[in-house]
Assembly symmetry: C2
Homo-oligomer: 144 residues x 2
DNA sequence: TTGCGTGCAAAGGTTTTGCATGGCA
DNA sequence: TGCCATGCAAAACCTTTGCACGCAA
């Protein structure tokens, strides 16, 4: 992607406009279709792939069935390195998790275990306060 | 699966024999092929699906490309609640992470943030010691 | 005998790839 | 003008489903 193209900008713009939300290929495709400008699926995949490699966008995979979802990482306003994600399997909410303990823990992992965690890729799954309360601990339903 | 069948037992036996390791559909298929008894893919999926629903086996999805991997949960001898997974994005290895700090951290998350983490679904992404060392390249080499 | 489990193949879905064309620099 | 990006369609992949047959109870 050495060249700056209309499609590339459109895709990035759309990702920025959805910062904090999660979108999948279908969402993006549909958005462009609604706007009258249809962008090929392959192009979307190719650009998203690059954005993910560049650390501009995060890719979250929750299931083999269904498509991956992507999220724009607002690297400017938020120190992404200290920012982890927690996804509630109950209600489907994806929550930003900013917490000193996280960093301490990640430092421990790196120093004692040699594991260098990538915040952009790592998602914690579990139940949020609301869902844990309403649900107890039994099996959860797909809330997505 | 109301009936007890040879295939069902074979699949469960194999899962038990690989306790602590991660296998995918292909591994299972190949194992049976080597043993002379070939089991249909659909059958493997169907049984694994049931085992996952029953909580006997965990299913980990790390990427949309590549197949999901499964792990027998030795609920008897191993406190699965204390067992997390770390996936190296460099070499693709999936590593068991057993560490007291993890538990402390998870407890903190639950008590201070109300997040109850599900160990079976949560996978940490990053670089393992080997890959972090040999870093600098975005390429992946086979580390298995 | 009843009806579930099996296995094959086809279908279903997402993602990737090949190739000719169009657009950026 | 020289390449890169695009877009279409086909391929590649994993997973699920339909259906006839075999096997467990």
């Amino acid at each position: 992607m050495a060249y700056k193209t209309k499609q590339g900008s459109d895709i990035l713009d759309y990702m920025i406009s959805t910062a904090g939300k999660h979108v999948n290929i279908n969402d993006i495709s549909e958005h462009f279709r609604k706007c009258g400008k249809s962008v090929g699926t392959a192009t979307i995949y190719r650009h998203l792939d690059k954005l993910v490699r560049d650390g501009v966008v995060a890719k979250y995979v929750t299931d083999n069935t269904g498509s991956a979802c992507y999220e724009y990482l607002d690297v400017g306003s938020c120190r992404k390195a200290d920012c982890y994600h927690f996804k509630c399997v109950g209600c489907g909410k994806l929550i930003h998790l900013e917490c000193h303990e996280v960093n301490n823990f990640m430092t421990h992992l790196e120093q004692s275990h040699g594991f260098k965690i990538d915040p952009v890729r790592t998602v914690f799954y579990g139940s949020c306060a609301d869902c844990a309360e309403a649900d107890g601990d039994t099996e959860q339903k797909e809330g997505n």
